[in-house]
């Protein structure tokens, strides 16, 4: 049988399977027959409202499309909540949905303490701050430094040292920084379609936050260009113009596209225009000569020490490996690692770093390369800085905030709405 026909069979069978999944949950006995029938379709995957029967529509909730009873036909049943959402035809509707935001294995499940379920997206989110002027990313949460925390550049209460993180690190009351990743056009040398508007807005958003993040870590890929051509430097220039909208220090990780793409290795290379543009734009202004380095940060009152290790996977060498092993072995209260490729990658650093990441004590690994926002264990994938999205979170950035009670809270912001669209905590 041809592949064409096989794929159609698979498509057709998949569609059938969806319509008969095990998520049907009849909960609304006692209401009239129409309502009862409509309620029985809750959590039934659907493509069109006609599949849902009378009194129900195909609408988005729990992170996908399911049949849901229109609230106006009666009260929602036990364990159900009436919410506004969008039907498959784009109409705004109100439907009864599971109050836990879950349909089978999909949706929120059990949210961590302090978070609630967004019943439409099916994601656990932190409550939005009340009374904000624009709903923007400007309010700390309970357990985090309060709104009176000084901005970078202002003096702490009674302190004589200004909290500040510069190219060589610094001292702060509580760590609070932003993470941005992957900013490139869809096509090679396609400077005309560089996502300047997106990355500029991201840096504007970070600059406008109060308190303002003390520094920014970028996870790589600022361009998509031929290493021997002139477009790489042009795209780096566009990136730096956007980056200039944030007044603090930016620690930039080398991405694979700054080395020519794929698993290229720029260690020892001097003639790669893209690599040189990266070094000139994001490394040398920090007074550094290598694309890998340590940023030491400590508490103003000496309660803790931290290090940020900037790793260059696409300029991997024995020297960098030795440096990284040595830095990971030095004790600090907190350790943050930033590199371009996620764990498990076959990048030039992948094999050498895998055992280090298994044995080393670190708090958070920040990566990009994948053009989405994701987190898994201690890894944050932050790749939505303007590159073509491959996931279902919009372009944006993350913040990492030290919690008063210990650990760090990571929040993901949508650059358009300024809303928190995801969060998690690491010890």
């Amino acid at each position: 049988m041809t592949r064409w026909v096989l794929s159609l069979l698979a498509l057709t069978a998949a569609g059938c399977g969806q319509a008969n999944s095990d998520d049907v949950d009849a909960r609304d006995a006692g209401i009239d027959a129409t309502v009862d029938a409509a309620s029985s379709v809750i959590c039934t995957p659907c493509g069109e409202s006609s599949e849902c029967g009378p009194g129900a529509v195909c609408a988005q909730y729990a992170g996908s499309d399911y049949c849901g009873r229109v609230c106006g036909l009666g009260h929602c049943g036990n364990g159900e909540t009436c919410i506004p959402t969008v039907a498959e035809d784009g109409a705004e509707v109100e439907v009864c949905v599971p109050s836990n935001g879950s349909c089978g294995q999909h949706g929120c499940g059990t949210c961590p303490p302090g978070e609630s379920c967004d019943l439409v997206s099916g994601n656990c989110v932190e409550p939005e701050p009340d009374g904000g002027d624009d709903g923007g990313p400007d309010e700390p949460d309970a357990g985090e430094p309060d709104a009176g925390e000084p901005d970078a550049g202002s003096k702490p209460d009674g302190g004589t040292t200004e909290p500040h993180v510069g190219p060589d690190g610094g001292k702060v009351d509580d760590l609070y920084f932003a993470v941005v990743g992957d900013t490139r056009p869809p096509g090679s040398n396609d400077t005309a379609h560089y996502p300047s508007a997106i990355i500029t807005k991201i840096y504007d958003d970070i600059q406008a936050m109060s308190p303002r993040p003390q520094f920014v870590v970028t996870t790589g890929d600022y361009m998509f260009a031929s290493p021997s051509g002139k477009e790489g430097p042009k795209q780096m220039k566009l990136y730096l113009e956007a980056r200039a909208h944030y007044k603090g220090t930016v620690f930039g990780v080398l991405g694979n596209h700054e080395c020519g793409g794929g698993n290229a290795n720029c260690a020892g290379v001097t003639t790669n225009n893209s690599y040189n543009a990266f070094l000139d734009g994001l490394v040398k202004p920090l007074g550094k000569t290598k694309p890998y380095y340590k940023v030491p940060i400590s508490d103003l009152s000496g309660k803790w020490t931290a290090k940020l290790l900037i790793v260059a996977c696409n300029a991997w060498s024995k020297a960098q490996k030795s440096w990284l092993e040595g830095e990971l072995a030095k004790p600090t209260t907190y350790t943050f690692i930033a590199r371009h490729q996620p764990k498990g990658s076959d990048a030039p650093c992948g094999a050498d770093m895998a055992p280090m990441l298994e044995s080393a004590k670190y708090n958070l690994l920040m990566v990009g390369h994948v053009h989405k926002y994701l987190h898994s264990g201690k890894q944050l994938i932050e790749g939505v800085g303007g590159a073509p999205l491959t996931g279902t979170h919009n372009h944006g950035f993350a913040t990492v905030r030290q919690l008063a009670g210990g650990g760090f809270r990571i929040k993901q912001y949508d650059y358009k709405t300024k809303q928190v669209v995801g969060s998690f905590t690491v010890p």
Binding site: A10, A14, G47, G187, V370, L389, T390, G391, N394
Partner: protein, 221 residues
């Protein structure tokens, strides 16, 4: 259409009909797609007008977007899920033309490429072209289903491995050449209708996004 395919059709049609009877999510489209890509306008009456401007230029058909003609081309807005406002994996299209043909480039950001993924270009109800990241091209024009017979050509650029979830895929691009003799036998128009759609299979479900809903157009400038 080959005799082998004709023999296979009843089996697929039966399965599609069974699915329809059980309220499957893709019922209308699935049965219509059995042999060839279906016109999308018939399944989605809501119409959001959009125009893709095609400028004069002849790109090399190599699946790459790194040519000046594609850099100069204006890209469509990102494809959207017509039913939701939520972000979706990025897809965009560009177009150019010369005396002999229309060229369309489709960029598809995809971190898990599957051979069942596809993009479709529909020029009204009479001509449809479908491409997948495994470099397969399928065409439909009336009763004709051979891309070669229609003169439709494609080139692919695939960054990643198809049907391998372990790999870090990034994107795939297909560039199409559609001769005017197929597209507009009576003469090249100033504008022609087009619908662009992407379909991914993720988690066993078809995720569809589109640039428009059947009333888009390519305008030649």
């Amino acid at each position: 259409m080959s005799a082998k395919k004709l023999l296979e059709l009843p089996l697929i049609a039966a399965l599609a009909l069974a699915c329809q009877a059980r309220g499957g999510p893709e019922d209308g489209a699935a049965s219509a797609e059995v042999a060839l890509p279906a016109p999308i306008a018939t399944a989605t009456p809501r119409c959001v007008p959009a125009t893709l401007v095609a400028q004069r230029g002849t790109p090399t058909l190599d699946g790459q977007l790194d040519q000046p003609v594609w850099h100069a081309a204006r890209a469509t807005d990102a494809f959207v899920d017509p039913r939701h406002a939520a972000p979706v994996p990025h897809t965009e299209a560009r177009a150019s033309f010369d005396a002999d043909a229309l060229f369309i480039a489709l960029y598809v950001a995809d971190d898990d490429m599957r051979s069942t993924d596809r993009v479709r270009v529909e020029f009204g109800p009479d001509l449809g072209i479908e491409a997948s990241p495994d470099r397969q091209l399928r065409c439909r024009a009336g009763t004709e289903g051979s891309c070669a017979a229609l003169g439709v050509q494609a080139a692919f650029s695939v960054d990643g491995d198809v049907d391998n979830a372990e790999q870090e895929d990034e994107e795939w691009v297909v560039t199409l050449r559609v001769p005017w003799k197929t597209l507009a036998p009576a003469g090249r128009p100033g504008e022609l209708p087009v619908a662009l759609r992407r379909e991914d299979i993720a988690g066993g479900r078809a995720k569809q996004t589109a640039w428009n809903r059947g009333c888009g157009a390519i305008r030649l400038e």
